[in-house]
Structure formats: C-alpha cells, structure tokens
C-alpha cells in the first residue's frame, strides 16, 4: 500500500518505531485520571451498599451531611433517570428509597455487594471517607443467590421487572445438521463437564476520575475508559442531558483489558458536578478508588459451567458436537448477552462440525457481574473445545496436530452458524506453522529443572514434563448485528505552493489503554498520507474533537481505526488536490453488516472477520507439591500485517502472561455474593519470577482481505488457547485431565492423588 498523497518515508506501516508516549511514561510526566484532579477539587466517595441482596427500607444521610467538610450527599433522589447499562439499562445509579417514572428498574433493591448507595462529596478525601461511614441504611434481607446453582433452583427473582419466570434471562440455540445421523457415524465420544473460573482484570491503575464544566459549559468527565462516546451516551441517559452538553476525555489510561468497558465513576462524578454547580459551587469533583474498591466494584471475566460432548468417526473427523453453556451474569447484564454469544459460537471449536446441538444461557445471580475481558467469552469456550479435542486425540490415538488438520475451518468452510466463514481463514497455515516452530514432531529438548522452594534443589524424581497444543479463532469487531462503525478526521497542512503536505493532524476518539493504539494510528496515518510519523499530531480520545470510534475492545480498534484513517486520508487527499489548506478529510467506516442468530437454529452471519491463533506449551510439574513452571510457549498469530511489529510482540507477550495467570494462579473466590480475596495480596497475578522461561512470538502476515493494509485484530488471541494447551501439557506429563482451573498447586496435587490414590 502506498500513500495517497505524499512522498514515501519509512515511518509508516510495518516500522518498529518507538512509542511516542513512552518518554512521558518513563519520566512520570504522563497524567492518569487521578493526576488530573486539581488542588482545589472537591473529593467524592462512593458508598457501596455491602448488600448482595436486600431491600432498602430507610436511608438516613443526615449524619453524613453534618460531618466536617461534607458539602453534599447525593442519592437516588438526585438522579434524573436512575438507571444505566452498556447494553441494557438494568442497573440503578444509586439504590434508593425514591423512584420516579423514568425507569422501570426498582431502585430499592441492592442486588450486588458493590451497588452504589450514595456519593459523599467533601473538601478532602479523608472527610469524604469519614462522611461516607456515617451514611445509615436499614435493610430487609432477601435470599442471596450466590451462584448459578442457587439462582436456578430458587423462586426468588433478581430482576422480576423483566417479566420472566427464571433468573435465566438470555439464551441462544444452535440446531445444525442431523444429530442422530452424526451420532450414528461416530466411533469416538468425549464427554466432559467444565467449570470456568472468574478472572479479575487487575489493571494497575484503579478507577479514578474528575468532573467539571469546561469553558463551553459542557459537563465534562475525565476518566479511564474504553469508549468515550458510549460513556457519553450513558451519561446523557442517566443525567437526562443532550449529548452535546456533555464531554468525555480520556487522559492516560492505566490498563483496561475490557474492565473499563462499563461505567464506574463517570455518572456519579458528573452528577455531583452538576448538582453542585446548581448550588453555585463550580469546583471540580474528583474521586479515586482503592484497589479493593476496584476489584469489588467492577465486573469480571464470567465464571460458568459447560457440559460438552464431542463425537468423531474412525478417521478422527468430527461427527457432532453437543454443548450446554451457562454463564454467571452476576447482578446486572453489563455485556453478558454478548459475551454469551461469543462463548456460544466458540464452544464447538475452530472446526468443521456437520451436526450440532448447543444451548447457551446467562443467569442473573447476586455475585459480581460478568463482563468484558480480553477474549470476551472466547477463552471459556476455547478451553472446552480444545480440551475436548485433546481428549479425543488421546482416546483415538490420533496425533493432536493431525486431528486438527483434518477438522480445521478453512476458506469456504461452513461455520457452526450455518453460513460460510468470511474469506481469509488462515487457521490451517497457523496450525502448521505453530507445529513446526514448536517442533511438535520431535522429542522435547531438555529444560533446566526447577524447585518450588527457593532454598531447596529441584527434586528430580518428582518432576515430570509435558507439552500441549491448542488453536482457536476470535472474532474481530462487534458481532450479531450490533451497529459497527469508526470515524476519523485528518487535516493535511502545508502552504498553497507545497506539492505535498508538510504535516498532518489526526483526530480520533479510539482509546489508548496501553496497547499502543495511538502509535499504530499515527503510523497508519503516516502510511496513508505520506506525511512522516514525526510530523503527525494526534488529537485523541475527546468527544469534543472526534467522532465515534467504537470501543477499544474485540480486537477491533487497529482494524476499524485503520480503515477509518485510510478513508479520511483519501478524503483529505481530494481536498488537498483541490487546493484546500488545510485539507480536511472526514470518514466514517462501516464494515459489512453482521447478523443476529436465528433463535431456533442459530443460523446467521455473526462476524465480518476473525483472527487465528495456535499455541504450544512445554511445562514441568513438581508432582509432590503441584507447582508448575512453564518452560516454553510458542504463540503463533496471523496478524495479517503488523502495523508495528514491536507493539504486536508486546501484545502477545502481555496477553500470554495474563493467560498464564488465568490458567495458573489467579483464583478469585466468591461466597454468598461477596468476593473473598479482593486484594493483590490474595489475588495473585504473575510477577516477573513467575512467567514462562521463554515466549516465542511467531508473527504471520496472511493479509485479511478487509483489513487496513491487510491487518487483522490480534490483541485477544493469545488469551484464547493458553489454558487448554497448558492442561494438555499437564496431562501429557501426568496422565491426568483437569476440567477446571486455575491449576493451583493444591488443585494439581489433589488431581494427581485422585488418580494415583
């Protein structure tokens, strides 16, 4: 791809440039939301209800209001439309005793331990905290439905306003082919029941933000999020304001991974600034959550249970799949209905499946909400699908790679949703490349031994080694008919006499959550305009200056933004040729429309493109303590085109380690609606000493026909296959299958003992 306007340079697509934001981030100059709170700001403290399921009888804020330094205590009565939600307005902004006719969600029921009861605003953070402790509430306890089993066996409904007779509130089906015919042709059958754990995002920056009126009297929120314009939509709804009177800005964001896709402090801070301004107090209002408030107060990767059956004929060709998927939505929907869709179409794996019955549903409970997290339902499904395939390989005696080769989706394959796969299915090449790089056909090379105890030498007799393989797809972009779009604006600058622009400005709302999106945007703009990266200024993540980009999620941002940037550059080029200075190009990119699945058969075209991944893992287990060390990971990705290869590598390495934590050590526990270990001392993400000894990132570039410069989305892919590949490696080492994880030492040891007695 050559530039549409300017001269060639080497700072565009494919260049391993340094990040332009790195200098600020290594000097402490980068400003995260908490750093933006000015010295004279008021401080707000959100009061959580601490009630997984209870009816509010009375709320008394008088002591809090009288507390030193407190300037306001906001409650449900202060919210114009007391409800919000990313896909469904099912959550009150505040639990309260008042209810107006603008919402049907009963506001007097706390359904989650972190439901918000009030916001205490004071002169200092300490005074806000002291005031918050004085908010008094009387509760009538309701039956706490702490997990799926409790929610499905009780008559108590968490959202009776939905008019359903069960807490199971959203379902998908797949009825494909002829199950009986498939079963009749079956030689090998694998069955399993899999328990999928929570995962906490554990971004290093806890939620924080500030709200104020800008110089144009727009109610402005600065916060870390993933989609400025969607935040603004939800603000407008709850505050009953037109969108153009609201503004959302993202300063530096300290990680996200899906965990900032839903609202945290946005609405309550804007509400406080609005109500205080009505009283003449125009100071900014800021708030920072503690780590505990962050972990308790935002959603998680869904836990769930999947029962699955896989059949294959004597040659190993898949004959049928049956599956029942149940995910724990927690107290509110968040994106659970969408996450479920992803799990639903992923549970049959990345294979040609002629016959299938799949039933998937989400269930409301009084536990922490499930929501977006890197992979978005895909990792849970891929764990099941790939573990089933690896069990099939063991049962049939067929080579696990060969088994995948004969079943893999390829160009022209019919997908589980009974439509043809979008063009560019590179999975066969990805599987082969990973198998070659991992040397799957050869014996494993030696790895140095490890000891789980620092002061003790490795116990050679207790160590066993194994390796495992898994592959998967992950959709890129919004699915199931959700309106997908992305806008960009480019200004080409230069004199009238200049043949080519000398500099450019890119306006884009896409969120830089750490992944390097803005660096990639600049490089794509450089490629598209011919202006060198160093001469392109980016104006980012501000609803006041950019159109809607969609979210930083679904591995979509580089893909969608790249297409929008190409379009804007092309528009700007026309203007430039016509002599406009600056030459301004605006573009709204819309990909091919996707479809919702047929409610009875699951037929439809859910996604416009996919990314593909295969991983091979070699590991060692100490069979006397259950500790695992991963010796080698080969993570193979078709990225279509690496816009910046170093950033791609960074995404692979980072996601592999996040997946490593998911598979091994991150063990979030919940009981009766309360999280039991909401701290970094109890929820163990990997440190530098815990990571695999070696990660080999294999980057393939099989162009996506629709991708900008051929690029595919890739940021979620390493998350998909790690847990099943590790479980397969542990089985290879010990002969024991694990149908749940994380593979904590005690779980591993218990599993080994169960088999050996």
């Amino acid at each position: 791809m050559t530039s549409v306007v300017g001269e060639m340079h080497d700072s565009g697509v494919g260049a391993a440039l340094k990040r332009f934001d790195a200098t600020d981030k290594v000097t402490g100059a980068a400003e995260y939301p908490a750093d933006r709170i000015p010295a004279d700001a008021l401080w707000a403290k959100v009061v959580f209800t601490g009630q997984p399921h209870a009816r509010l009888i009375a709320l008394d804020t008088s002591d809090a209001e009288a507390s030193p330094g407190v300037v306001a205590v906001l409650t449900a009565a202060d919210v114009p439309v007391n409800e919000y939600g990313l896909t469904k307005n099912d959550q009150p902004v505040f639990i309260g005793t008042t209810q107006n006719d603008r919402t049907e969600v009963p506001s007097n029921i706390s359904r989650w331990e972190a439901d918000h009861l009030a916001l205490v605003v004071a002169e200092t953070a300490e005074q806000a905290e002291a005031g918050a402790a004085l908010v008094k509430a009387d509760w009538e306890q309701l039956e706490v439905l702490g997990d799926i089993d409790a929610a499905l066996s009780s008559d108590t409904l968490i959202h009776p306003e939905d008019g359903l007779d069960s807490n199971r509130y959203h379902s998908f089906k797949i009825r494909k082919g002829d199950l009986a015919k498939g079963q009749a042709a079956t030689t090998w059958v694998v069955e399993g029941t899999y328990e999928l754990p929570y995962q906490e995002h554990a971004y290093l920056q806890p939620e924080a933000g500030l709200a104020y009126y800008d110089s144009d009297r727009r109610l402005t929120v600065e916060v870390a999020g993933q989609w400025t314009h969607e935040d603004r939509v939800q603000l407008a709804h709850a505050l009953d304001l037109p969108e153009d009177r609201l503004r959302v800005i993202y300063p530096s964001i300290g990680g996200a991974f899906g965990g900032r896709e839903d609202i945290s402090l946005q609405i309550v801070l804007a509400l406080a600034a609005m109500r205080l301004a009505e009283k003449g107090d125009t100071r900014a209002v800021g708030s920072i959550w503690s780590r505990e408030e962050s972990i308790v107060g935002h959603h998680k990767r869904h836990r769930g249970r999947i029962e699955a059956t896989l059949g294959a004929d004597a040659d190993g060709k898949i004959t049928f799949v049956e599956a029942d998927v149940v995910l724990d939505a927690g107290a509110y929907n968040y994106t659970s209905n969408k996450v479920l869709g992803n799990a639903h179409i992923g549970v049959a794996g990345c294979y040609e499946v002629p016959n299938a019955r799949i039933d998937s549903s989400v269930v409301y409970t009084n536990a922490t909400p499930g929501g977006a997290f890197r992979g978005f339902g895909g990792p849970q499904a891929a764990f099941v699908a790939e573990t089933q395939m690896n069990k099939l390989a063991e049962l049939s005696g067929l080579d696990p790679i060969e088994l995948r080769r004969i079943n893999t989706l390829k160009n022209g394959s019919e997908f589980i949703t009974q439509t043809e796969m979008p063009e560019g299915v590179s999975l066969p090449q990805v599987i082969d490349r990973c198998a070659i790089e991992a040397r799957m056909g050869e014996p494993m090379r030696l790895a140095s031994q490890f000891s789980p105890v620092a002061s003790l030498a490795p116990a050679a007799d207790a160590l066993k080694r194994g390796r495992g393989f898994a592959c998967a797809f992950k959709n890129v972009g919004f699915s199931f008919g959700f309106p997908e779009r992305c806008e960009a604006e480019i200004h080409l600058l230069g004199g009238e006499e200049d043949e080519y622009p000398t500099s450019a400005i890119l306006f884009h709302a896409g969120a830089e959550v750490g992944q390097g999106a803005h660096q990639a945007f600049i490089q794509m703009a450089a490629e598209a305009t011919g202006v060198g990266s160093e001469n392109i200024e980016g104006v980012f993540s501000d609803t006041a200056s950019s159109g809607d980009s969609g979210s930083a999620s679904a591995s979509r941002l580089t893909w969608m933004a790249g297409n929008s940037i190409q379009g804007a550059a092309s528009e700007a080029e026309k203007q430039w040729r016509e002599g406009a200075r600056p030459a301004i190009g605006q573009f709204r990119f819309v990909p091919p429309p996707t479809e919702y699945l047929d409610p009875e058969t699951g037929a439809g075209w859910p996604n416009f493109t996919y990314g593909y991944v295969a991983q091979a893992i070699e590991m060692t287990v100490d069979t006397e303590t259950g500790h695992i060390v991963v010796d080698r990971v080969v993570s193979t990705h078709d990225v279509g085109k690496a816009i910046n290869p170093v950033l791609v590598e960074g995404q692979i390495e980072g996601a592999v380690i996040q997946a490593h934590g998911y598979a091994l050590s991150e063990n979030l526990q919940s009981k009766d609606g309360f999280l039991l270990n909401p701290r970094f001392s109890g929820y163990l993400i990997p440190g530098i000493g815990d990571i695999p000894r070696k990660v080999e990132s294999v980057i393939m570039e099989e162009a996506d026909p629709l991708g900008p410069f051929g690029a595919r989305g890739m940021a979620e892919m390493p998350m998909m296959t790690y847990a099943p590949a590790l479980v397969a490696a542990l089985h290879d080492a010990t002969g024991v299958w694990f149908d749940t994880f994380p593979l904590t030492p005690s779980r591993v040891l218990a599993g080994l003992k169960r088999v050996t007695g």
Partner: protein, 486 residues
C-alpha cells in the same frame, strides 16, 4: 455503615520520633494505646484498613533511635537489634554460616523495597503464623528480649507468640532484640512453599535444625512449622523420631510422616488442610535430605540485590513530635519542599498531594498507588538511599531526609540510560507501573553492574505489571545495567 472494604482509615493525630529507647518507653507509658512503629510494613496497612482499636492513633516511630539497627556477633550469640531489617540480614556476610534459616527466611519476605523497611523484630511482633522468620527463629532456639518501663525480660521464641497475632508483649513494653545461640554443631535449613515465586504469603514454611553425633546419628533436632496452626508448631514427634537414628532415608521419611500426622492445619483461601499436611511432609523430607547431603546452603545466592544505594543514615529532625497538620521539610529530588499534613499521611499521599501542590514548578505525581499494601511497587521511591514503598512509610518519617522519585531519575532533563532503554525496548505499555520499575531498576543499576537475569528478577520482584509480560522490561534493565567493558 459501609461495605467492610470501605472501613475508613485510622487517623494518625500525633507522631513522635524519640531519640532514645528510654524516651520511647516513657512515651509509651504515657500513651498506652500508642502504636510503636519501625518498618511499618504491617502497621501502615492496618491503619489504612482501619484495623485496631485506637482511633485517632498516636505513632511512636523508633527508627530515629541510633544504635538499634545493629547485628552483634559474639562468640556464642548473634543479637539482632529491633531495627534490623530483612535486607540487613540478607546482605550480612557472616550470617549464612551462623544462622542459615534466618537469612533464607528473610529473603522470602516481600520484595527488596519492602525488606528495606520491614524489620525482623516487627515480623516477630506481628506474630502471624504465616510470618516467615518465625519458623526459622524457632528452629534456631532464638530468645526475644523485652524491655518495659522498669524491668527487662527474656522469652524463648516458642513462648513469645500465644495465638494468631497475639504475643506476651505488654502494652508498655518493647522488643529490644532477638538473640540466636551460635552452635557450630547445629545444621539448619529453612523452606517455604507459596503460591508465587515472590511476595507470596506462605502456605507452609518451616525451619529444621539437626545436631549430629560422631557416628552420624541425630543427637537432637528442631522442626518448627508455620502456617499450620495458630502459632509456630514444633513437631516433637518428628524430632523424637529422628533422635538416635542416622540421618538417612528411613528416619527422614519417618520423621516427615510423623510431623504430617501431628499437625492439624485448617483450610483457607490459599490451600486446603490436606494440601498443607501433604506438603509439610514433602518439605521436611526434602529439608532433611538437604541436611544429609550437606547441600542446605548450596542455593544461597552469592549476592542478592537489596536496592540500597547508600547506608541508611536517617538524619535527626529538628522537631520530635508532629501533629497531623504540621508541616515537614523533605529534600525531594534535590529540592527542599515544605508542606503540611505530615502525621496523617503516608509518604506517597504526601508527595502526590501537599508536596506536589506546594509549588507550581514542582511535579510529583509520577509515583502511583496501585494497591496500598506493598504488593504492586508502583509507589517505589528512594528514601535514605534505599528503595522503599512510599505507601507504607509515614510521611513524617521522611522529615529532613532525602527522597528521590521518578521525577528525579532523569539527569537535568536528559533521560537516564535506564529510561532510554525502556523507551528503546518498548518496555512501556499503559505505563502506570513504570515509575516503580524505573526506581527499582535505577537502584539496581547503582548497586551492581552486569546483574544476572536472576538478580534482575529478584530486584524487580516487587513490581507488578499487567500489560507487558515483563520480557521487554527485563531486556531493558539488562541492557542498561551492562557495564561498558562487559
């Protein structure tokens, strides 16, 4: 009425920094509910969570008292002063030969920046059964020295702790040292099993000592196990099994089984009881085997990064007692900054709040709060020449000291070699954790050149990153710490 995790922090109203032990004891006698503080790595977390009866709180900071941070080695004793930190123990050249389990245990506590503040005596006084040094000291027959307003007493370590976080220490008493008898015949080792390589609360930890007779038979033994009971558990049955037997597999196996049979651990979030029992047996067997094969010290590293650039030299502040609104003066990145709210804030909040806002030309918001419990390292700064976790340091403790933050790492506006390497290697993604990594990495670079990957990993073991996967960070640190000739 709030959610339990939202309990308000305790307010520190008064902060005393006595200059003598006598003064400290007098203050304690006058304020029976005051909390003595040394490293503060446990207490600051408790205060932040509002744990403990007294609120508002008076702190008596012992760390300005000279002479209490000494390790005295005499012919028959090692005496550890009350301000001796875990890193003092880890880096002491003579201790591995004298008290191996203690140095091994101290290296397992937290991370380097935490070990620069956390004291061994503090670990003992906190008295959680998971505290690593307790089993080591138990296996070494340590004695706890206690001083009160009028009397002093010595208590064997096994009698000092009487329950989970309960000791025999009186309200008006201080622990003024721990002694370990020197015994050339004693052979000892410590082992810890956690759920992470570093910064892991012990699932099981234990100290084992044996004494061997002329013919290789065990004449005496100490087996002290932590995290399996409310206090450290001495397995008398296992010890008895060993005595009189040659230190060899039959007796080793029998002793390990005897210990596993004797303990009655509980289930908790980290592991079920069964797992503790099984791995206690495994660890005892492996420890005794290491003693049998004389490999107990084999894995003790030659040189362990401590992230200390200079010796700790706390200056004496002019004002000994501070109330919560008083100002303190700290030299931050070479500039003297005077700002208020000394007693009530931790150093991180003081830097980011009053100090940052004290002068528009000063920017001090690079250090970040990621956890407020010393786990993530995003708040790491240099104080008194060593890396510390600023969320766990009372701001008043920095009064009249030198502090270096991320903003002081660059050389007059030019990136340091390490900063440049982080940029060059794209070791930065969201960047929130990066100031902490850079402060730790800069301290490492000052402390040693050409560190091994193991030393780099140890130096950075207290810094969590969720974006990068650490590989590019490790590469950048390796590159920046490479000596010109090396």
């Amino acid at each position: 009425m709030t959610h339990p995790i939202q309990a308000p922090a305790a307010t520190v109203e008064t902060y005393h920094a006595p200059r003598t032990l006598t003064e400290a004891l007098e203050l304690l006698a006058a304020n029976p509910s005051a909390r003595p503080i040394a490293g503060g790595t446990d207490l600051m977390v408790e205060l932040d969570r509002g744990v403990g009866a007294a609120n508002p709180v008076t702190l008596i900071d012992l760390t300005r008292i000279p002479g209490l941070d000494e390790i005295e080695i005499s012919e028959d004793l090692v005496r550890i002063g009350p301000l001796v930190t875990h890193n003092d123990i880890v880096s002491h050249p003579a201790l591995p030969a004298i008290a191996l389990p203690l140095v091994q245990a101290c290296l397992e506590v937290g991370s380097p920046a935490l070990r620069n503040r956390a004291t061994v005596v503090g670990n003992v006084v906190t008295a959680s059964p998971a505290n690593d040094s307790l089993s080591a000291l138990n296996a070494l027959d340590a004695v706890v020295h206690i001083t009160g307003p009028s009397t002093s007493r010595d208590v064997p370590i096994g009698e000092f702790t009487v329950g989970v976080r309960k000791t025999v220490l009186g309200e008006d008493e201080l622990v003024t040292g721990i002694s370990i008898p020197r015994d050339p015949q004693r052979r000892s080792i410590y082992a810890k099993l956690g759920l992470r390589q570093a910064q892991a609360i012990s699932v099981v930890h234990l100290g084992v000592s044996v004494w061997l007779g002329a013919t290789g038979e065990v004449t005496d033994a100490r087996i002290a196990i932590g995290s399996v009971a409310p206090t450290i558990f001495r397995s008398i049955a296992a010890e008895a099994t060993l005595v009189g037997q040659p230190l060899a597999p039959p007796a080793i196996g029998a002793a390990a089984s005897a210990a596993a049979a004797e303990i009655a651990p509980i289930d908790d979030l980290r592991a079920p009881a069964d797992y503790r029992r099984d791995t206690t047996e495994v660890l005892i067997r492996r420890c005794l085997t290491a003693l049998q094969t004389r490999t107990e010290a084999q894995l003790w590293p030659d040189r362990t990064p401590t992230l200390r650039i200079t010796d700790r030299q706390p200056t004496q502040p002019t004002k000994v007692t501070l109330s919560n609104s008083d100002a303190i003066t700290v030299t931050v990145n070479g500039t003297k900054i005077t700002a208020s709210n000394a007693a009530s804030l931790n150093l991180l909040d003081w830097l980011r709040g009053p100090a940052h806002h004290s002068d528009p030309s000063i920017s001090l918001q690079g250090a970040q709060e990621g956890c407020a419990e010393g786990e993530c390292g995003a708040c790491t700064v240099i104080m008194d020449g060593q890396a510390v976790l600023s969320c766990l340091v009372p701001a008043a403790r920095a009064n009249s000291d030198n502090v270096i933050t991320i903003e002081g790492i660059a050389n007059g506006g030019r990136l340091s070699k390490l900063q440049a390497a982080f940029v060059d290697y794209t070791a930065v993604q969201c960047g929130f954790c990066i100031p902490g990594f850079l402060v730790s990495g800069s301290a490492l670079a000052e402390e040693m050149s050409d560190p091994s990957d193991a030393q780099i990993d140890l130096a950075l073991s207290g810094n969590l990153c969720r974006c990068t996967g650490y590989y590019k960070i490790r590469d950048a640190v390796r590159e920046a710490t490479r000596s010109e000739l090396g």
